[in-house]
Assembly symmetry: C2
Homo-oligomer: 254 residues x 2
């Protein structure tokens, strides 16, 4: 299994970009049944009597339609979330109205950590497509983490991983050229898709060019131009939001 490090030019290792679990193995994710959280939270390491406790936590599944917010900056923080299906973006709104996309969450990934520091969400989370979301009450989770070392470890790693992921994005924004940023982003999404049991090479990227630009610190025009350039060089094949990676090594070489 490729490590994310191998894919991303940015040298921060992500153990398990996922969530309250150690890496949901390819196969596990692929046959994900009712709720991603079951798999995400269960895997290796929990003893059989711990599993029901965890399951009891997962209160509800919430549907969020394309464009709607799962939560908004300023909302009270009560839950962590895991994307069951669909995808979301998280963003910060500057007081002058400028928006910065801080992350993209794919199926199987976690979000909500931006609320831990202040009991108040610092980001807004907006669905990029109709999505369903598993809800995990934070208070209950904390209790469980005091009972069970494994769960404590899992939560800590989740937090640590998101921390490292952000640091990695800081490197992207601070040090890479526009072309490198786009290549890096495509490889990152490709890798994450693959980790959850989907195709390495082809995926729907529901973000608009503008969202990508915001996430990468460049303009939508630049994103578009670079994607066209990549296509001309036979690195990718992009039809709007459907992206097919043709030459993964070529992208990595950038």
């Amino acid at each position: 299994m490729l490590s994310p490090t191998a894919v991303s030019p940015v040298a921060v290792r992500h153990a398990n970009p996922a969530s309250l679990a150690s890496a949901p193995v390819r196969q596990t994710a692929a046959r994900c049944s009712a709720c991603a959280m079951r798999h995400l939270c269960m895997p290796q390491g929990l003893t059989s009597d711990e599993i029901p406790k965890l399951e009891a936590l997962i209160c509800s599944v919430r549907k969020v339609r394309r464009g709607e917010a799962l939560y908004r900056a300023g909302d009270h923080f009560d839950n962590l979330y895991a994307v069951r299906s669909g995808s979301l973006k998280t963003l910060i709104v500057h007081r002058d109205g400028r928006e910065q996309i801080t992350g993209l969450q794919l199926a199987g990934e976690a979000l909500g950590l931006d609320g831990i520091a202040n009991d108040t969400h610092a980001f807004s989370a907006i669905a990029l497509e109709d999505s369903s979301i598993c809800t995990l009450p934070y208070a209950a989770l904390k209790n469980l983490c005091r009972e069970t070392v494994t769960m404590q470890d899992r939560l800590h790693r989740l937090m640590g991983d998101q921390f490292n992921r952000e640091a990695s994005q800081m490197m992207v924004l601070g040090s890479l050229s526009a072309e490198e940023r786009v290549a890096n982003f495509l490889l990152d999404v490709s890798e994450r898709n693959w980790q959850r049991g989907y195709s390495h090479a082809e995926f729907h990227l529901r973000m608009s060019r503008e969202d990508m630009g915001s996430y990468l610190g460049i303009t939508l025009e630049t994103v578009s131009r670079i994607l066209s350039r990549f296509q001309k060089r036979n690195l990718i094949d992009a039809q709007g939001k459907l992206i097919r990676i043709v030459d993964i090594e070529g992208l990595r070489a950038l």
Copy 2:
């Protein structure tokens, strides 16, 4: 007391940029005695029988000389740290050698969280001046967090806060102009200095222009030019690394 939000144009609220404590109050920090950690970890909320437990954790104080590493990317992760005196920078090294400064840690602030996800440090932490560092074994800390809700909460908030801090920096790198970045950075350091009981208006910034540039995603020349410009406009008074903020509102207005 000014909230960091008020200072920083970037709209992520930092509860307590500090550490395992709720905000070390101005006064507390000012009369900091033997070890910053004592104050950082003790304050409000711990019952008297919890305090000794925490103190028992603080194993050692380590000295790091200017330019030396407290830890390096790839090192095994065992401890969290709190800066007792001095300051450090954390950075990621890209495989092609490019470095990105990910943070500046002042006296009273915590570091080491980059190791949690993988049991391996993702950053390197380098002293910007001769510094002394309190060491907090992570394993022991985890145990304590399972015993004591207060400590658990404190650790979670610490992690959450660093997460939000990074997100805030993503906004800086992704959306602000060079001038805004520098102004924002000066205000941030000023605010953090003040929170730890030092001057709001005047401080030694031990980073080089190059470090600042790396942290802010611009070149050292640009940093230098902008500082000169600020000086001409009577916003600051900079003599090398000694920075005096003359017109804090003017800086905020940028």
